[in-house]
């Protein structure tokens, strides 16, 4: 399958993904700005120091970082026409992404039972919107990876389709770097 290229010599879809990522930086920048602007201005609890679980989130962060490793190894395997390894690594991305989401579901439900809701205070509103939108992005990524895995099992993920995997990988890595920022700004800098 031939790819249409831009005047920069970059495939259109890859360029489009990078432009999308640039716009997503602004989207998440706005959410992080709102979180920081309202930080410490809640008039009722629970506060971040009372409720955030650093050990759990550290493990989630590690899981997401390793999913990025699996993603880049999946792309490498597709480019080398090693379909078996590609299936393994894409499956790894799905499993690790799912594990991250499970951790987020556990965290959200735990916070809800501790009294932190979207309406409880400014911390709750900004925290759930920021991390919730990130979780939604991870969910889209997992679904995208599942379609790639399905393609691989149908024998339709050879080196000629490596651009499909590369574009999906760019999205996945972006979701990872956004979490790197959120982990530091929301969880570690209290």
């Amino acid at each position: 399958m031939s790819a249409h290229v831009t005047t920069f010599g970059i495939p259109n879809r890859k360029m489009a993904m990078w432009v999308f990522i640039g716009s997503e930086c602004m989207f998440f920048g706005s959410l992080i700005a709102t979180y920081l602007s309202y930080k410490g201005k809640s008039v009722a609890g629970p506060t971040p120091a009372e409720i955030l679980n650093i050990p759990l989130t550290s493990v989630s962060t590690f899981v997401l970082l390793m999913s990025s490793l699996a993603m880049v190894l999946a792309l490498d395997a597709v480019q080398r026409d090693q379909t078996g390894q590609a299936k393994l690594w894409i499956g790894g991305v799905i499993a690790l992404g799912g594990l991250f989401l499970a951790g987020q579901v556990y965290e959200f439900s735990h916070f809800y039972h501790e009294g932190l809701t979207l309406q409880q205070n400014l911390f709750g509103s900004t925290f759930f919107v920021l991390t919730g939108f990130h979780g939604a992005h991870v969910t889209v990524g997992v679904i995208w990876m599942a379609t790639l895995l399905l393609m691989a099992f149908r024998g339709r993920l050879g080196p000629e389709r490596s651009l499909d995997v590369e574009v999906a990988g760019l999205y996945w890595h972006f979701v990872d770097v956004v979490w790197i920022v959120i982990f530091t700004v929301v969880y570690l800098i209290q």
């Binding site: 880049v72 480019q79 920022v181």
Partner: protein, 105 residues
């Protein structure tokens, strides 16, 4: 080399490099958590965490997203998005009084 591969823009790192980068990312994450819990680092915790976080961000972008090996225009696109995001964060924090550059005399 087919047309797609020719136009993807530059080569990619070796698998061993990806594993090494992942190891460094894991170590930096451990350092971040350690910095958070060590009491005598409290005064320097924010700058240290920001530097560690920026390092992780750069490693993922350079090696996993292949910016190190790809066309410079892609780095320009990402940098522009990041600069606008930083400006939004700075502007909103100033607007909401979360960051004060000047204090009244």
């Amino acid at each position: 080399m087919n047309e797609v591969a020719e136009h993807q823009g530059g080569g990619h790192a070796a698998r061993s490099t990806y594993w090494l980068v992942a190891l460094i990312l894991a170590i930096i994450t451990l350092l971040e958590v350690a910095v958070f819990y060590v009491p005598f680092l409290r005064s320097a915790v924010v700058p240290m965490l920001l530097v560690l976080s920026a390092t992780k961000f750069a490693l993922v972008a350079m090696f996993f997203m292949h910016l190190r090996y790809d066309r410079p225009i892609l780095t320009v696109i990402l940098s522009t998005g990041l600069m606008v995001a930083a400006a939004i964060i700075l502007a909103l924090m100033l607007l909401f009084g979360a960051l004060r550059l000047m204090t009244p005399a």
